[in-house]
């Protein structure tokens, strides 16, 4: 009785939130998984167990099919023998291209900006705000502007970057942007890099500032060059920051939807898994397959987030 008195009120206080999270997060995740494993592939609701949705998203277990699946993702060429949904193969390729370009781009740009600001610039506060602002713009609004900036129209109909390149005599830089058949999906990452690199900069800047000045001084006393100070003293301290940045960028990348729809609409040439999920559920009413893609997206994000949580819990314990 006494023990209940001790933790009872606290439990009661958080119970509404536990209840809501249980129903609206974990309950719905469970329901989503259940739908993905059902035969609810038409407008009518049925309850039978069916893995056909997943079978369309994965190659069959034969070695040849698995090889063909990965070859198709890597080369971007459609396969005549592969039994997996060819649109899904392209979506996965787009997601990978986008993720690599976006995560690498945002990390490099963000870290470089932070490095420059850390070296001491006049009006640091001003620059910090300028670089952070794009994050306040929603992806859908940014997409509309970037659609114009990355306009692939040829000749006198050019706008945005292509027009700028022409005017500057840099015509060889003209390109098709997101309509490029092979690498178009990585061009879609440019607006995302623009939007998020300021945030990554803020993370790194905090990281730089977290390195005690005494350590740097000590290294300098020992005769380390400025580069070596960063290489051996500052950067090793930034590993947790980089990890957090990776998680944040990675999960945004896997579920990217609004930016893609604002720039490319619902077209295969710019389609990502989240866009295909939307098309399957609301256009085709293929609820099982849509839910299967949702489940795979969640798993993809978990692969990123769970190791991070484990790491955080461990390092907190060490403290």
């Amino acid at each position: 009785m006494r023990r209940i008195r001790r933790w009872g009120p606290g439990l009661l206080l958080v119970s509404p939130s536990i209840l809501l999270v249980a129903v609206f997060v974990y309950g719905l995740i469970g329901w989503n998984v259940k739908v993905s494993l059902s035969d609810w592939r038409q407008a009518q609701k049925t309850s039978g167990f069916d893995t056909s949705a997943y079978r369309e998203l994965f190659p069959s277990a034969e070695l040849g099919q698995v090889g063909e699946f990965f070859r198709s993702i890597v080369t971007g060429r459609q396969s005549d023998t592969l039994t997996t949904d060819p649109a899904w193969v392209i979506d996965v390729r787009h997601a990978l291209l986008f993720t690599v370009a976006f995560v690498a781009g945002a990390l490099i740009v963000g870290a470089s900006l932070a490095f420059l600001l850390d070296k001491g610039v006049k009006g640091e506060g001003f620059f910090r705000a300028v670089y952070l602002f794009p994050m306040a713009v929603s992806f859908i609004a940014a997409g509309v502007v970037w659609r114009w900036l990355m306009n692939p129209a040829p000749g006198d109909r050019s706008t945005g970057f292509n027009l700028l390149f022409d005017k500057l005599g840099l015509g060889f830089l003209r390109n098709e942007w997101y309509l490029g058949a092979d690498w178009g999906a990585s061009a879609l990452a440019i607006p995302a890099i623009w939007a998020l690199s300021g945030y990554i900069m803020a993370l790194y800047l905090a990281g730089f500032r977290g390195v005690p000045e005494e350590l740097r001084e000590a290294a300098r006393m020992d005769g380390a060059s400025e580069w070596r100070v960063y290489r051996h003293v500052v950067f090793p301290h930034l590993r947790p920051v980089t990890l957090s940045a990776l998680i944040i960028l990675g999960h945004i990348s896997i579920k990217v939807f609004d930016l893609i729809v604002a720039i490319g609409g619902k077209q295969l040439i710019t389609q990502t898994p989240a866009v295909y999920m939307w098309i399957l559920i609301y256009d085709a009413r293929d609820y099982a397959k849509g839910a299967a893609i949702a489940t795979l997206l969640l798993l993809g994000i978990s692969v990123l987030v769970i190791p991070y949580l484990v790491y955080t819990v461990r390092s907190e314990r060490e403290v």
Partner: protein
């Protein structure tokens, strides 16, 4: 009084306060959804005709506003409640609607493309048949018999069409064509395929974009007109009948796809980045020779600048004819309204559908929207030059239902068709495209 607020020795918040806070928290959490339901129940007591549509802009919204005005003066006891969701061709609206129907919260009537697109609602038991309205109001005599037979599902009617649009229209700029040495086609007879390809070649040589095209759905729109123009309306209709996979594998479909492949060679390289308006404007601006789009293009070309249209003069600044091979064929689509099961005000909804199918509503809405009535007795004087032409054609043409705009294929099939087309637009592999279409037919027909 104050002592109660003072912190105890231990520095902890008193237990009773915590308990009270927790109880309040739970009460709030429980009360929120309940109060939401409460307001809903209240608002449905007074009669209000809730109508769900995606008519939020341009001529559509203006036409709807006129209809609402008439409705409200005639039905002061049950005023109109306009529930629109923005988004081209209703993509967002359909998602919102699906959620409302699944939650058992239907509007009194909702918009849907007439034809197979409604089948999901019908099969899910979400809409009622409306044959009794047709019978009582005599719509069966007022509308073409072929239209009524094409929108029936299992022998029953499930919606009332308000308007008819035509998809197979070839738009051009007569001045641009003459400057490039191309004879503009006559509206009623159009080009043959050979004449059209020759014209495209000339336009290409003159430095024009021969055939302006936009994003993926407009590529599908073009493909459906090429297929109808190659297979004819009967061959086209046969593709959508049960067990049609062998017809999809036929040489006729192959010819159509190869013809389409040839046409794509004359389109602009940046098609996927253009909306249908962008593509149409290329013709209006004299940068492109031709464009295939539905006749909502007429509204965009001739409408006022204030409404973000181009204010061109029909016949002089732009011309039209049927897509090659489809003269005498009306590739039609239609906005229609339904009677949802469990409509909160069913009697008013029936009255609304009766009103919509009548001549007054159709002749009020359509001149503003830029479409023609589904009825045969329209007052032609109310319509502009293009629509007058379309009205005359509607009375004599053979009807072919549109794929891109929901008439011939249910949603699942139409989506698979679109995905196959998207894959083809990247690979340009006709044989693989046909195989994918055969597979889609096998699964869905």
């Amino acid at each position: 009084m104050l002592s109660g607020l003072r912190r105890r020795r231990s520095g902890r918040v008193p237990r009773t306060t915590l308990l009270a806070a927790a109880l309040i928290g739970i009460a709030v959490a429980l009360a929120l959804p309940a109060s939401g339901l409460g307001t809903q129940a209240k608002s449905s007591q007074a009669c209000q005709l809730s109508v769900f549509s995606w008519w939020t802009g341009g001529g559509e919204a203006a036409g709807l506003t006129k209809l609402i005005k008439i409705w409200n003066t005639r039905n002061p006891t049950c005023p109109f409640k306009n529930e629109t969701v923005a988004g081209g061709a209703g993509t967002n609206a359909k998602a919102v609607l699906a959620q409302r129907l699944a939650a058992g919260n239907p509007p009194d009537s909702f918009q849907g493309h007439a034809g197979a697109e409604l089948r999901d609602y019908i099969k899910a038991g979400q809409v009622e048949p409306v044959d009794f309205i047709y019978k009582a109001a005599g719509f069966g005599q007022a509308m073409p018999a072929s239209l009524i037979s094409q929108i029936k599902f299992n022998g029953k009617l499930y919606s009332v069409p308000v308007n008819i649009h035509r998809a197979n229209v070839l738009w051009f700029n007569p001045k641009t064509l003459r400057a490039a040495g191309i004879t503009p086609p006559k509206a009623n007879t159009g080009y043959t395929w050979a004449q059209f390809i020759a014209a495209l070649k000339k336009a290409d040589a003159a430095g024009l974009i021969p055939l302006a095209m936009g994003e993926q759905w407009t590529a599908q729109h073009l493909l459906e007109t090429v297929m109808i123009g190659t297979l004819g309306p009967k061959g086209w209709a046969a593709l959508w009948k049960p067990n049609s996979e062998s017809r999809w594998a036929s040489s006729g479909v192959k010819t159509a796809l190869n013809r389409y492949n040839t046409l794509l060679g004359y389109t602009n390289s940046d098609a996927a980045s253009l909306t249908w308006q962008d593509a149409g404007k290329l013709v209006a601006d004299g940068k492109a020779a031709f464009n295939v789009m539905g006749d909502w293009q007429d509204g965009y070309f001739s409408g006022s600048k204030a409404g973000d249209n181009l204010a061109l003069r029909p016949g002089r600044d732009y011309g039209w004819t049927a897509v090659p091979g489809t003269s005498g064929v009306y590739d039609w689509l239609s906005d229609s309204f339904t009677l949802p099961k469990g409509a909160p005000h069913r009697a008013a909804a029936v009255k609304w559908l009766t009103f919509l199918g009548g001549r007054l509503a159709q002749d009020t809405f359509n001149p503003v929207k830029g479409s023609i009535p589904a009825r045969k007795d329209a007052n032609a004087k109310l319509y502009g030059p293009y629509l007058k032409w379309a009205l005359a054609q509607w009375k004599t043409d053979t009807l072919a239902g549109s794929l891109t705009h929901g008439v011939v294929a249910p949603n699942a099939w139409a989506t698979e068709f679109g995905t196959a087309l998207g894959l083809y637009l990247q690979s340009k592999n006709v044989a693989r495209f046909q195989a994918a279409l055969v597979a889609a037919a096998k699964k869905n027909s």
